[in-house]
Amino acid sequence: MNIALEADKLTKYYGKSRGIIDVSFQIKEGELFGFIGPNGAGKSTTIRLFLGLIYPTSGSAKIFGKDAIRHGPELRQHIGYLPSEVFYYDNMRVIDLLKYSASFYRHDCTDRIYKLADYMELELNRRIEDLSYGNKKKVGIVQGLLHRPRLLFLDEPTSGLDPLMQRKFFDLIRQENAQGVTVFFSSHILSEVQRLCNRVGIIREGRIVEIADIRTLQQNNYKKIRIYSTQTNDLHLNLSGIANFERSDSYVQFLYKGDINAIIKKLSEIDLTDIIIEEPTLEEIFMHYYE
């Protein structure tokens, strides 16, 4: 498999303030990659560096093996971008904006505009300034996909979309991905990344803290354990690999990563009334990155 996206020690400072620091990752063609982090962690900065909207302080960004800055114009022929906040020329009608957008690409996109607009239930004859936020987002989605890009940057794409549209949008992204389109999906909502992506990178305060396969993260590493007992005060969990520890009157809850026998042995020291062991959600796994 070829590498679609590659960041190598990518660093961006805005004057003295931090953008991202030493961000490195590789994303293969055809991957659906989730990029997770709290607001201000550097998600948009990373995407905007790949698009050539801003220039790196140091390090490099490559798309399909070519430098994202030097070969930016030809690379962008194959890139679709949905920014986190969509803004277009207010006095244009939707169809005019989409045609303006299409005019930058080599091939004819007219059919595709109508298909996508129909699918996303977007009215083409309205003026941009009259659109609600959600409808502007739909314009953004059509605009980002109309030229059949091989690579998609989605920056917090679902904000403003109602649940029904979110689902349609996810289906659309899955269809694109099934046809080989590489997707870079940035979000601070872990559950939606969990639904869509195969691999995730977690960014916090400008640095990558983890890159992993979603399934291995979920299945092999962490268990969410909740025990009900009258003796929770006698429980001394001095094991490593315990996170998100919560204690209430009737129960104790935590995430555990490590030898399952060790924790069971520990738990058997007290009298339990009930126990729940389950797969944690991504949200719970990554909570400690957010704190």
């Binding site: 905007r48 698009l51 986190s84 930058f104």
Partner: protein, 273 residues
């Protein structure tokens, strides 16, 4: 995509500015009409006018750029009208200059435009060409209005069409000065909040720099302002503009243009969020 100009952006930019261009052109043409229509009465009372002007304090005349202006001759009167034309066209050009790139960042459309498969050079060139086309259109209307209305109202008093054409031709570089300097300044600052404020500040600043040097007689400052490089009153007296001063304007245009490209090619586009 080796095209130097993106015809797509040019067409969009030109159309987006067309209404403004037409408004400016017609307003200034109207201004020329109103002023030239008053000329016959000025000329008729020639002796009275000269006496009136002589009674004004010379500083006041200087401040309005009217030192040595003879309002009774066609060319003298035209040079007086031309100053107002210059003021208006300077504001227009400065407005387009400050707006050229900053509008995309203010309206937050820069992300849309610059994520397209085009170079920054193509974007700036197309925008610049569209602005030039708009200014060219304005100037064509000004030429027509100037010759038309002057001939309509001058009666049988003589005028110098060659000199008038020369004075009008100066508008090309004169407007380029404000367009390119505005563009360069807009790229030096982080954000242009009010284009009108910047445009008026630049134009009035340049105007008073010229007027101020007239009042104080300081000749160093006046070398900086295109209002002096393209002083129509001076041109009437000397049969043309001072070439060495014109070249200063040309040099500023070249430097501001090259500087703008340099700045724009390296610019970090501010985030929309």
């Amino acid at each position: 995509m080796s095209k130097i100009i993106s015809s797509t952006i040019f067409a969009y930019e030109f159309r987006a500015r067309l209404r403004s261009v037409i408004t400016w052109a017609l307003s200034v043409a109207l201004l020329i009409l109103v002023y030239t229509a008053l000329y016959p009465s000025f000329a008729a009372e020639a002796e009275l006018m000269r006496q009136l002007m002589a009674n004004f304090p010379p500083e006041l005349l200087a401040a309005f750029g009217m030192t040595g202006v003879d309002l009774t001759t066609v060319m003298g009167y035209f040079s007086f009208v031309f100053l107002f034309v210059q003021m208006a066209l300077a504001v227009q050009a400065a407005h387009y200059g400050f707006d050229l790139v900053s509008v995309e960042e203010r309206e937050r459309t820069a992300d849309f435009l610059l994520s397209k498969p085009i170079t920054r050079t193509q974007v700036l060139t197309a925008k610049l060409m569209a602005a030039l086309a708009g200014l060219g259109l304005t100037q064509a209307v000004i030429w027509a209005a100037s010759f038309g209305f002057v001939n309509l109202f001058r009666g049988d008093r003589p005028y110098d069409p060659g000199l008038m054409a020369l004075i009008l031709a100066g508008l090309v570089v004169f407007q380029l000065f404000f367009l390119t300097v505005g563009m360069a300044i807009s790229l030096l600052v982080r954000r242009v909040r009010s284009v009108t404020f910047y445009a008026l500040a630049l134009v009035l600043g340049m105007y008073f720099l010229g007027a101020f040097s007239d009042i104080t007689g300081d000749v160093k400052l006046e070398n900086l302002t295109p209002f002096k490089h393209f002083d129509a009153n001076d041109a009437v007296h000397h049969g043309g503009y001072d070439l060495s001063l014109v070249l200063i304007s040309v040099a500023v245009v070249v430097i501001a243009t090259l500087g703008s490209y340099r700045l724009y090619l390296r610019r970090d586009i501010p985030t929309t969020a």
